[in-house]
């Protein structure tokens, strides 16, 4: 049995859930048994209707205790589902929250943890995975015995297709003392962009060289034109020009789009860690010696306030041609 913890937004499955199902099916082919799913939190019952087409059984964990996320509660719910299913492997999204509860679960199950994996598979009774390490500069292959907890890096895996109707089974999970030690006082919601950064095919990132929050209007216009998402460097977040949810890099998000625009940013290693796997990198910087040019396929040396408006015009021409 393989358990896949399915991420959702309260009304539908997230893309990462369907990536998880694909990984789960691949593991189950070798490990044997079915793929079962778990939905936790508000909306789980509604989403189960969609989810049951992908797995043989969907466990749901809901109720007042699961209104808000904590690593302790989610690990507890996953432990209960893993036990109910007799799972040899648990697959979960390597989102920021996913990566905060999966280590707890691995410890509870005395399991190996394969984190933020690009791919994963089983051979005999061993599991293997690939992942990046050393600030995204090394690709490594890892091996572990069972049971194993595997988190899936977003945007690495084909989305699963529906495979017929499974069943839904609510699971009741009793919280212990540990799960009551964190109280959520306040949510600080940042308005996410129209396009999810980690899933975007085009990312347009501005750095400190943009000069002001207002100048990001140009970045937004360019991103909109290309159906892409807006990114920012740490320097920009520190300046308060953009929300943290747009930060790309070691301490922000990791993106791997088809095309990455690095505009008026220097290309510090910590920033590169979040974007160095992009297919094509394009840089604009007024300093010909900026490190980002060494990490780029195409670059323009020039003032962003002159070059970007011209790029916007050229793309508009291209679109209307």
């Amino acid at each position: 049995m393989v358990l896949v913890v399915l991420d959702h937004d309260g009304s539908k499955l997230r893309k990462s859930a369907l990536e998880g199902v694909t990984r789960g099916r691949k593991l189950a082919e070798v490990l044997g048994g079915d793929v079962v799913g778990l939905l936790i939190g508000p909306g789980a019952d509604a989403v189960a209707e969609e989810a049951k087409d992908y797995v043989s059984k969907v466990y749901t964990v809901t109720g007042a205790d699961f209104e808000t996320y904590t690593a302790e509660k989610w690990a507890k719910a996953a432990q209960a589902a893993a036990a109910a299913a007799g799972a040899k492997a648990v697959v979960a999204p390597a989102s920021r929250t996913g990566r905060s509860w999966t280590p707890r679960l691995a410890y509870k199950l005395d399991a190996a943890l394969l984190e933020d994996t690009l791919d994963s598979w089983a051979e005999g009774d061993k599991v293997f995975a690939t992942k990046y390490s050393f600030l995204n500069r090394v690709l490594e292959k890892q091996a572990a015995g069972l049971p194993a907890v595997i988190s899936v890096k977003p945007n690495t895996t084909p989305l699963a297709e529906p495979a017929g109707a499974g069943t839904v089974e609510p699971l009741s999970v009793e919280l212990g003392e540990l799960e009551r030690k964190v109280e959520v006082l306040e949510k600080i919601v940042e308005s996410g962009g129209k396009v999810s950064l980690t899933e975007a095919d085009v990312v347009v990132t501005g750095g400190r060289g943009m000069g002001s929050a207002e100048a990001f209007g140009m970045i937004e216009e360019f991103a909109d034109l290309l159906g892409g998402a807006v990114g920012a460097t740490r320097a920009v977040i520190d300046a308060g020009w953009r929300p943290y949810s747009e930060q790309i890099g070691q301490t922000g998000k990791t993106v791997q789009p088809t095309i990455y625009f690095a505009l008026a940013l220097s290309g510090a290693v910590q920033h590169q860690a979040g974007m160095n796997k992009s297919k094509v990198v394009v840089a604009v910087n007024k300093d010909p010696d900026a490190p980002i040019f060494k990490e780029s396929d195409y670059g323009v040396v020039g003032d962003i306030h002159q070059v970007l408006p011209a790029m916007i015009e050229e793309v508009k021409k291209l679109k209307s041609a």
């Binding site: 280590p103 995204n136 091996a143 006082l185 949510k187």
Partner: protein, 252 residues
Amino acid sequence: MKYVAIIRQVPDGESKIKVEGGQVDLSGTTMILDQMDEYAVEEIIRLKEQHDGEAVVVAFGPERTEEAMRTALAMGADRGVLITAAGYVDPITQAAALAKVLAEEAPDVVFTGGQQADWDSQALGAATAEALGWPVITWTTAFELEDGKAKATHDLDEGAEVVRVELPAVFTAQQGLNEPRYPTLPGIMKAKKKEIKKIDAAELGVGGSKVEIVEQRIMELERKGKVIDGTKEPAAAAAELVKLLHEEAKVL
């Protein structure tokens, strides 16, 4: 009160890394206190300065980790405990060993870096918390003690939240939590005399690793590096760029 920072020694991100025989070879690479752990060390020193008590650094790693620990002591931590083990040991196994030391130290607050700069792992803080039966708050950007509990702000996938946490608890540090101080010369001198207790991981009954690194490969992508001068005629440069992206790279 007692405050602990769990630290690691990692390669300096600015230095080249090489692979020998399918494994990363760190010989000759500059090794530093993980920059994300610097936030953890700074935070426990500040806690000690504000509330009194003791600031202790704890680590699991090879002998050389002592150098990074001295850096933390030079910043102002009081003493260190180093669990020594050679080779790769996965975070779940490390957590079991760290928990034994921490259970004995009985700190109120534990901090560690949000992500490690070598294994790109975020697991150590959460796994250690689990091993101790304590809560964990990841990616902490603000922290204060309040009525024997902690109030913390931390990052989620989208947005952030403010939480109140019963202590003892583990927190992982995010950039922005504080501005780590540089060790001063007197600090470095004093650090030489501070105690570092070393314990062999085997003595704690912890051996092996649940995860094995089968093979490592450098993955730096080759970039074309085509640069157009747009200093004199920015519009023409932009037109050429868009043409290249459309016709050559075929991404627009």
